[in-house]
């Protein structure tokens, strides 16, 4: 059972990113496709966001049943999704460089963490392994701090008040400071 669950999201992610490539010039079709998928698979655990294409932001919005707001900076766009249950997610999409059109960072705040399967996508397994390694290295309940060359993630707070962020250092467009990811 668990094998199925881990394999299926990867296939689905591939489908979504293919749609994203094919239909960059017709965003509404992407939205429709994502919406259709969401209707058939409402509780599906993983649409890649971190490292995925901008199309995955729309899927995340639908999954979170949230409202979307965009702000534009010099080299990236911030897609801010506010869910009805009080969870705020920000997805950072590069507008220049090799990672243009891709989500290079995510940040969140709310009473509960967002669906990490969905938000971290391909990086989810890395998060789980690093989180286990942190607790294995030394007993102690403390904020999560993952600092790997290809993946940085931090999560803090307490029940009813969580905050955190994750980013891929190699995907940051020029001019982005890590403290801008918040």
């Amino acid at each position: 059972m668990s094998l199925n669950v881990y394999h299926q999201p990867k296939m689905m992610m591939l489908k979504l990113s293919l749609i994203g490539h094919r239909a960059r010039s017709c965003e509404s079709k992407v939205l429709l496709a994502a919406a259709a998928l969401a209707m058939f698979l409402p509780a599906f655990p993983a649409w890649a966001a971190l490292g995925g294409s901008a199309a995955t932001v729309q899927a995340d919005q639908i999954h979170m049943q949230g409202t979307l707001r965009q702000t534009t900076a010099a080299t990236y766009t911030v897609h801010e999704i506010q869910s009805g249950s009080g969870i705020l997610v920000r997805e950072y999409v590069a507008s220049v460089g090799e990672s243009a059109g891709k989500v290079f960072a995510v940040a969140w705040q709310g009473p509960w963490p967002p669906d990490m399967h969905q938000l971290l996508g391909n990086y989810f397994d890395q998060y789980v392994q690093a989180a286990k390694a942190q607790s294995a290295a030394r007993f102690g309940r403390r904020p999560l701090a993952i600092d790997q060359p290809g993946f940085v993630m931090e999560m803090g707070g307490h029940p009813r008040s969580f905050m955190g962020r994750a980013y891929v250092p190699g995907m940051l467009p020029v001019g982005v400071r890590t403290e801008d990811i918040r």
Partner: protein, 399 residues
């Protein structure tokens, strides 16, 4: 010099506590502003706690207590030691591997209710069951608790990175005695939070909305009396010590041994936070939490304190001891300055002690920055955690 009220305790404990008192007393005499701390050790509402490394012996900065769990309304009970005292969450969670009792499973629409409760250090995953919970002389009847890591339910589909055995948890359980009566929400815990699930089979689980009364409950709110909060009383620690002992006291102003006295009340906001000010900036997502094992605050760029590397990434590793001054401010406007020190975590851990007064690290995120005042903040303070009620709808801390 400190005074300690000690009645009917074993002579060896008395001798140990007296040593602690003398040590603390001599250090407080060097600072005229340090108030005298009195640690209460007797009373029907007093449980002994130890900062002693826990069941695996190497847990840094956590207070452990013994909790007795019973089949509701029966004398079929078991006492579970090494349960971590956590003022940052609400509800009792016990490892399935140490439970021997047949407790009643909570159901929803005929299916077992299973919880994925999020902590920043890892989720706890397991069924919600009903138990009588006894600590010291206090009893909470028919309380929903969480049994962590029951192999009857598969976590992989819905609950990532669970801490579900003693090797990952470092404790036999967590006694959440925080600000709130329920673990999730005073109204319903919504299905969209992905906290409570109905699991008709081992690996088929669907998120559900859980009503307030069915959620895992803070057992303190179920006590007949002494049900409005707790006090943690731990002695001052100088640098690091192999272990220290103190008291977990139930009730605030309900008995002769738990008066608020001259403590200042700092009220919390609806999220369980207050404000800590540091270096001219206010951080309104800050909190006090005995379940965090250090001072976690900001990051190296703001504090100028070097972060450790490798396995100890996230801790602070300054080359010399760093002194920090900050001010706490409650939602009620009360405010008080405090100071603490940060020592090199790598050096501290090499001592293989269990109680560290100067352990800390980054609070790890700019979204937003905050102070997490963990167990070291409790050393040398009698720290009150007031349960939410009509006067204090989001609870309070006092010290």
């Amino acid at each position: 010099m400190r005074t300690m009220r000690m009645f009917a305790v074993p002579a060896i404990l008395l001798a140990f506590a007296f040593l602690v008192a003398c040590g603390g007393g001599s250090s407080s005499s060097s600072s005229s502003t340090t108030p005298t701390q009195t640690i209460t050790s007797s009373g029907n509402n007093v449980a002994s706690i130890s900062v002693n490394g826990g069941p695996e012996g190497n847990y840094a900065d956590a207070a452990f207590v013994s909790v007795t769990v019973c089949v509701p309304g029966s004398s079929n009970c078991q006492t579970i030691d090494n349960v971590l005292v956590d003022t940052g969450s609400s509800g009792l969670r016990v490892l399935s591997s140490v439970m021997t009792l047949p407790l009643t499973q909570q159901t929803s629409g005929g299916s077992p209710v299973v919880e994925c409760f999020p902590f920043v250090s890892g989720n706890t995953w397991g069924p919600v069951q009903t138990a009588d919970v006894e600590v010291a002389g206090e009893k909470a009847s028919s309380v929903p608790i969480q049994v962590i890591g029951d192999s009857a339910f598969n976590s992989e589909t819905v609950c990532s990175a669970p801490q579900d055995d003693v090797n990952s948890l470092g404790a036999n359980g967590i006694l959440g005695v925080g600000l709130f009566a329920q673990d999730c929400n005073a109204s319903a815990c919504l299905a969209s939070y992905d906290v409570y699930y109905a699991c008709p089979s081992a690996s088929t689980c669907t998120a559900i909305t859980e009503a307030a009364a069915q959620q895992v409950q803070n057992p303190v709110s179920f006590f007949a009396t002494d049900n409005n909060g707790v006090i943690l009383e731990l002695p001052a620690v100088s640098g690091s010590e192999a272990s220290v002992s103190g008291s977990l006291i139930f009730g605030i102003g309900t008995e002769s041994n738990n008066a608020l006295g001259g403590a200042t009340i700092y009220t919390a906001d609806p999220d369980g936070n207050f404000t800590t000010k540091y270096n001219g900036t206010a951080y309104p997502d800050s909190f006090i939490d005995s379940g965090s094992n250090g001072y976690y605050f900001l990051d190296s760029s703001l504090t100028g304190i070097t972060e450790c590397g490798g396995d100890e990434s996230g801790f602070y590793c300054p080359s010399s001891t760093m002194n920090v001054s900050a001010t706490n401010q409650g939602v009620n406007g009360s405010s008080g300055a405090f100071t603490f020190s940060i020592e090199n975590a790598d050096t501290l851990f090499n001592s293989n002690d269990s109680a560290y007064s100067d352990l800390g690290g980054i609070s790890a995120t700019s979204a937003p920055y905050y102070f997490d005042l963990g167990l070291p903040f409790f050393f040398g303070r009698n720290l009150y955690t007031g349960l939410q009620n009509a006067t204090y709808p989001n609870g309070y801390w006092a010290y």
